[in-house]
C-alpha cells in the first residue's frame, strides 16, 4: 500500500470509521477469467471502425483495378448517364399526371387558411406574459401619476383657501408679533440700510424763491395790494 493511501485510510478511520471498515474488505467486483487478454484479441474489431492507412507490416491495403487510368472519359460519361436514368426512375409513378391536381388542392387549402385568419375575431387575447406585465405596469404608473397630480392641485387650493379665510386684522397682528422677534440683522437682510423706504421729500421741497415766482406770476398788482 502506498504512503498516500495509508494516510487516507488513517484519516478515514478518524472521520468515517464505518466507511473505513467496509473499504478495508476485499473488492467484491469480479471479472471473467482472461478478460483483459481477450480484449486485445478484439483489437481488429475496434480498429475496423476507422481504416488504417497501412498494415503493421507495411503492406498497403488498397488495390486498383487493372487499366483504371485508361479511358477515364468513357467511364465518367457512362456514370453520368446512369445517374440521370436512376434519377428519372426515382420518381413515383404518375407523378407528373397528378401534379396539377395536387397544386390546385394546395392552393385551395391555403386560400381557406387565409380566410380563417381574416375572419378570426378582432379580439385577440394577449397570450404573451411579458406584454401583459408591461401593460399592467403602464396602467399602474398612470394611476399613480394621476393621483399625484390631483392631490398636488388640491393641496394648493387648500393653501389658498386657508389664506383667504384669515382676516386682515389677524394678518397685521401676526406680522407685528413677528417684527418684534426680528432683530436688526434679520431686518437688514430684507431692507437695504442705505436705502430708505420713505421717499426723499426734502429733495422734492420747493425753495422760497421758486414759490414766490410762482405766486407772483399769475397775480396782478391789485390782488397783491389787497393781501398786503
Amino acid at each position: 500500500m502506498t504512503t498516500d493511501k495509508k494516510k487516507r485510510n488513517e484519516e478515514l478511520k478518524r472521520t468515517a470509521p464505518r466507511l473505513a471498515a467496509l473499504l478495508q474488505r476485499q473488492n467484491p467486483f469480479r471479472i471473467p477469467d482472461g478478460y483483459f487478454e481477450e480484449n486485445l484479441k478484439k483489437l481488429p474489431l475496434l480498429t475496423a471502425e476507422s481504416p488504417t492507412p497501412d498494415f503493421a507490416d507495411g503492406r498497403k491495403p488498397f488495390r486498383l483495378p487493372e487499366d483504371y487510368f485508361e479511358n477515364p472519359d468513357e467511364r465518367i460519361l457512362s456514370r453520368i448517364k446512369d445517374s440521370e436514368e436512376s434519377r428519372e426512375s426515382a420518381l413515383p409513378e404518375g407523378y407528373f399526371e397528378s401534379l396539377p391536381h395536387k397544386i390546385i388542392n394546395r392552393i385551395h387549402e391555403e386560400e381557406k387558411a387565409v380566410e380563417v385568419r381574416k375572419g378570426a375575431g378582432r379580439i385577440r387575447m394577449i397570450r404573451s406574459r411579458t406584454i401583459r406585465a408591461l401593460a399592467a405596469a403602464a396602467v399602474l404608473a398612470g394611476l399613480v401619476l394621476s393621483y399625484g397630480i390631483l392631490t398636488r392641485q388640491s393641496s394648493e387650493e387648500k393653501v389658498i383657501a386657508g389664506l383667504n379665510s384669515v382676516s386682515t386684522a389677524e394678518l397685521e397682528s401676526y406680522l407685528t408679533d413677528q417684527l418684534d422677534h426680528l432683530n436688526e440683522e434679520e431686518l437688514n437682510t430684507v431692507i437695504d440700510p442705505d436705502e430708505s423706504l420713505m421717499p426723499d421729500y426734502e429733495k422734492e421741497l420747493i425753495n422760497e424763491d421758486e414759490l414766490q415766482d410762482f405766486i407772483l406770476e399769475d397775480m396782478d398788482i391789485t390782488t397783491i395790494e389787497d393781501i398786503l
Binding site: T2, D4, K5, R8, L12, T15, A16, P17, R18, L19, L22, L23, R25, P28, F29, R30, I31, P32, Y35, F36, N39, L40, K42, L43, L46, T47, E49, S50, T52, P53, D54, F55, A56, G58
Partner: protein, 184 residues
C-alpha cells in the same frame, strides 16, 4: 515488439507514424485497460456495462489519438474519455428505465445480487448503495481518489475542476457515505 512499458510520448509517436499504428495502439490498451476498466466498473457496477463502455472508449481513442495535442497527460485524457462515455451510458440507461439506476429503491441492490460477477455480501451492497446516492461528481471524485488512487492535480485535469473544490468534494462525499451507513 512495442512494449506497454515504454513512455506515453513514444507510444503516441509510434501510433502517429502509421506503420506502427496498430502495434502502438495495442500497447496503449495493454497499459491502461485495467485501470480504465475498474474506473468504469465502479461507476457502472455491472461487468457487461463496463465492458461495453471500455470498448467505446478505446474506439474513441483510436479515432482521436492523431489529434491529441499532448498538452495533457495521455492517461488523464484517457480517463476523461472513459468518464464521459460512462456518463453518456448512465444517461441513456436512465432514459430507458425512466428513473435513476442509482437511487431507485432496491434497484441497485437487486442488480448487484443478480450479477454473477459480484461477490459481495449485504454489507458490500450497502456500501455500493451509499456511494451510489452521492451526486455524480462527488461519486466520481470519491471513486477516483480512493479506489483509483489518483492525485488531486490529476483529478483536476480529468474533471476540469480546481484542486480546492475537489478536496471539498471528497470530504463531503466521505461524510455523506458515513451518514448513510449510520442511518441504514
Amino acid at each position: 515488439m512495442i512494449s506497454e512499458k515504454w513512455p506515453d510520448e513514444k507510444l503516441i509517436r509510434l501510433f502517429k507514424a502509421g506503420a506502427t499504428r496498430e502495434a502502438a495502439f495495442a500497447a496503449i490498451i495493454r497499459k491502461y485497460q485495467e485501470r480504465l476498466y475498474w474506473h468504469l466498473r465502479r461507476m457502472l457496477y455491472i461487468h457487461e456495462d463496463a465492458d461495453d463502455v471500455l470498448q467505446n472508449t478505446f474506439i474513441k481513442v483510436w479515432k482521436n489519438l492523431d489529434n491529441f495535442r499532448e498538452d495533457a497527460r495521455l492517461y488523464t485524457w484517457l480517463y476523461r474519455i472513459a468518464t464521459n462515455e460512462a456518463l453518456t451510458h448512465i444517461k441513456k440507461e436512465k432514459k430507458h428505465l425512466n428513473g435513476s439506476i442509482d437511487n431507485e429503491e432496491l434497484g441497485l441492490a437487486n442488480r448487484l445480487r443478480a450479477d454473477e460477477y459480484f461477490d459481495g455480501d449485504e454489507a458490500a451492497i450497502k456500501l455500493q448503495e451509499a456511494i451510489a446516492q452521492l451526486p455524480e461528481k462527488q461519486k466520481l471524485v470519491f471513486n477516483m481518489r480512493y479506489f483509483q488512487e489518483l492525485k488531486y492535480d490529476e483529478l483536476s485535469e480529468i474533471l476540469e475542476t480546481s484542486v480546492g473544490a475537489l478536496k471539498a468534494s471528497y470530504h463531503h462525499a466521505v461524510k455523506k457515505i458515513e451518514q448513510y451507513l449510520k442511518n441504514t
